[in-house]
């Protein structure tokens, strides 16, 4: 166990540094992380070519950085040139959604009311259930609260899909999905439905291209995570190890990276008292005078010293010096600074963007960028995406259902905003990757074998057929209304669709040539082996 441990003091200085590094990253382009790379790492930061890209190169960049190439996205990439376009993706300014998409999001309850407000509402609904005197009334109220919770989760799903389809900040949206999956919580557990939208909007999306340490802490402090992995009930003399274990195993260092059962237990003790509260913020719990200064409250997050175990802990081979919530900070610093975390995150990013077996040198380079930028996600991604090895590995990433379905819809309808994205969500469900629906904290797997079994291929072709022949369901507001005619897009008219076909196999083109009508042509195009990878 060779963890390079820093003094907690230096650690905090690192974090401050990393903030400024993040701010500089956009302006300094490639130089920031290159100059920090430790000796021994081959610093092969190629400058991003600003020469015009071929159509095939553009499609590769679009399929990697966005949720799928569309004609308008391709035009923007051509107009800006790769360097400025990538800068924009890595460092997005307030992204402007098309007005219609913005409007749909603005109409949602989760947009119009604050989380505190919604939470109070649900709490009073629950109180009414408890106070109900007759059974019929209590059943009705119970159904009402369930319906409300389902609506809140459904709105969050729809908002995610609207942004993924139409936001110009495509990399931010991909990374939002990536981190939601990395810090997975499932709406199938308890009250998570109430919190899921806020979790994505407040904890994950704003940090998706920011600093990993900040992101980790934001997920730790959110009620969704605190509930899902039970740390809200982890207290002195009532230890619950669940979150502590997954924090180390799934969120940061990775299993088998050197931490022990004793480290899990120590972390669980450190995390006692880390929870949330829905009480009014100005009504803290009664605390003995000696502990009052340790109490923290920020939004719903609460650190309650009454529940905290102050016993000294040894963690990852060294004692923790700080006390209370500061000990949590110290432990998180130590975890994030460990080489295991850099490697674990780097590899996961490389698998997500490049393929099942990313070259070790690419992972090493990405991990070095993570370390030298102190967990700056944009800088880490810049290093990964611009690496020569990444350019060489084209079309090796099998699309997971999200990429497959969103890519097809973006291709088919580009910026024409869907009136109803529930069919999109249905297609993604059908392919086995429901949004917020993975029950266990490991999130959805990413390798080809996870998504390319016989049953899944058959289901994928069914979905391809739906999009090819009946995707006008996206453009009605009433599910009973007739479909517009024709009820399908004409993919052959898309420049990005045509541009792909030059590279495709004879067999695929032969099948397309046999298509007798537009829906069949669409079906074969979306079912082509070449459309399964990005």
């Amino acid at each position: 166990m060779a963890y390079l441990q820093q003094e907690p003091f230096a650690m905090r200085a690192y974090r401050m540094l990393s903030l400024s590094a993040a701010a500089l990253a956009g302006a300094l382009w490639l130089t920031a992380c290159a100059s920090h790379e430790p000796p021994g790492v081959v610093s092969s930061q190629t400058a991003v070519p600003d020469a015009p890209l071929s159509a095939a190169q553009r499609l590769q960049w679009l399929d990697r950085v966005t949720w799928g190439a569309s004609d308008s996205a391709d035009q923007r990439l051509q107009r800006l040139g790769l360097r400025r376009w990538l800068d924009e993706q890595l460092n997005p300014q307030q992204p402007t959604l098309p007005a219609e998409a913005q409007q749909r999001i603005a109409e949602m309850e989760i947009s119009q009311r604050g989380m505190a407000d919604i939470q109070r509402d649900v709490a009073s609904q629950r109180l009414a259930i408890r106070n109900a005197t007759d059974e019929g009334e209590s059943t009705r109220l119970r159904q009402e609260v369930q319906r409300h919770l389902n609506q809140l989760a459904a709105q969050a799903q729809q908002r995610q899909v609207l942004r993924a389809l139409y936001s110009p900040a495509q990399l931010q949206e991909q990374m939002t999905w990536f981190w939601m999956n990395h810090f997975n919580v499932s709406t199938r557990k308890g009250e998570t439905r109430l919190w899921i939208g806020d979790y994505e909007e407040q904890a994950i999306r704003p940090n998706a291209l920011g600093n990993f340490r900040t992101l980790l802490e934001a997920s730790m402090r959110h009620p969704a995570m605190l509930l899902y992995l039970d740390n809200a009930s982890n207290a002195k003399d009532h230890i619950n190890e669940n979150y502590a274990r997954e924090l180390l195993e799934l969120h940061t260092m990775g299993v088998g990276s050197g931490y022990t059962q004793a480290d899990v237990q120590a972390m669980a003790h450190v995390l006692t008292g880390v929870g949330f509260s829905t009480r009014d913020a100005d009504a803290p719990p009664r605390l003995p005078p000696a502990l009052r200064a340790d109490y923290r409250r920020q939004g719903f997050f609460e650190f309650n010293p009454n529940r905290h175990d102050y016993a000294p802990q040894v963690f990852l081979g060294q004692p923790l010096r700080a006390k209370g919530l500061a000990a949590v900070d110290e432990a998180l610093d130590r975890i994030v600074a460990s080489p295991a975390t850099a490697h674990f995150i780097a590899r996961k990013l490389a698998v997500f963007f490049i393929g099942d077996n990313p070259p070790p040198a690419l992972v090493q380079r990405t991990a070095a960028a993570f370390t030298s930028s102190h967990g700056d996600i944009a800088a880490t991604l810049r290093s990964l995406l611009t690496a020569p090895q990444a350019q060489a590995q084209q079309g090796q990433r099998f699309k997971d259902p999200m990429h497959y379905v969103l890519g097809a819809v973006r291709l088919g309808y580009d910026e024409r905003v869907a009136s109803d994205v529930r069919p999109v969500i249905g297609w993604i469900n059908r392919l086995g990757q429901p949004i917020y629906g993975h029950e266990t904290p490991d999130g959805y797997p990413m390798s080809q074998s996870d998504w390319a079994s016989s049953g899944q291929m058959a289901a994928r072709f069914d979905v391809a057929r739906q999009i090819a022949a009946r995707s006008a369901v996206l453009f009605r507001t009433d599910p009973k209304a007739p479909l517009e005619q024709p009820p399908y897009p004409d993919l052959a008219q898309r420049a990005t669709a045509q541009a792909r076909m030059d590279q495709w196999s004879t067999a695929t083109r032969a099948a397309l040539a046999q298509a007798r009508n537009v829906p069949d042509w669409n079906t074969y195009f979306l079912s082509a082996p070449e459309m399964m990878v990005r």
Partner: protein, 402 residues
Amino acid sequence: MQRRHFLSAAASLPLTFSLARARAAAPRSDTPRLLLVFLRGAYDSSNLLVPTHSDFYYAARPTIAIARPGEANGALPLDTRWGLHPAMEGSLLPLFQGRQACFVPFAGTHDLSRSHFETQDSIELGQPLDAHQSFRTGFMNRLAQLLQGRSGMAPMAFTAQLPLCMRGPARIANTALADVGKGGVDANRSRAIAAMYAGTPLAPAVNEGFAVRDAVLRGMQEEMDKAGRDAISAKGFSLVAQRMATLMRDQFDLGFVDVGGWDTHVNQGGASGNLANRLDDLGRGLAAFAQEMGPEPWRHTVVAVISEFGRTFRENGNKGTDHGHGTAYWLLGGSLSAQAGGHVVGEQMEVSEANLFQNRDYPVLNEYRSVLGGLFARMYGLTPAQVQQVFPQATVKDLRLV
């Protein structure tokens, strides 16, 4: 005529070995059938198979213990030492009393990570723990490879994704059964799509996907006819279990399904509550499976229920249990031997504080590879060398289960 029909279908849509067999010849009623049920999330075996003889059990679980037999909501007595969770009264207990169920406590793996994902993977790979796991083939896939020369060998995962234990060189079909529906891809379009994949690495999966879909829809037809008559349709795991039974009776003889939701860190409940509801659903599903298979196929069927590990023996501060080690496996089937059916079998020890492993959980005395290896050897008449192909370097323990 039949042969000709089959050949022409095979020519237009190259079928893989397993499906070709499934279509050519359904398994006979006396073909051995095996269904592996994986409870993901590490179910709390101590509240399913209750050590009713242990005072320590009652001391260690002040709020979630299942009461002794005879007390209100008490365990259902199995023998003088063990009892069954009361939620299993209508499902698992009758099977046990009919000598068609047995339990193997202190079962599991020597993997000590206590990580769900790590342990599930290592069990599904079925490799020795100290060996470098260089290739990702699961033990069910290696079993399928070994058996594919035999008549009627058709493996199937009843899951949306192919589980790790079934991945590998032998092509294995999969489909989730909870939401089977007709797709819009008809026979002509299927052929056109299959042609695009000819010669690509995905071709076998694509062809098999089309063939399995047809097979499953044929099986569903029977269910729809029945539902029309009885107007009672099963839900949840019972529905999946009934569909599995139809398919395993008529088409497939090696099956896998997983059931999640067993990770009970908080408020797991006792005789009622979260865990009880899960067990009730599972038990009713498995009883429905036995029923639907019909007497003769069931006599040649074994259902093995396993989980990645057990849970802490003591309840935690939240009336739940954390990640532990040893667990209890169950085996169901009409072919269980006289010494297994209706018994609690395998190596055992006193359930006491002194015998806890790492002062935390059950020790593993019946390692999963040795138990399942012994079962496979008996079911399929495997030689020791063949068992080693499925579970390399395993020391087989023959519990004479069938």
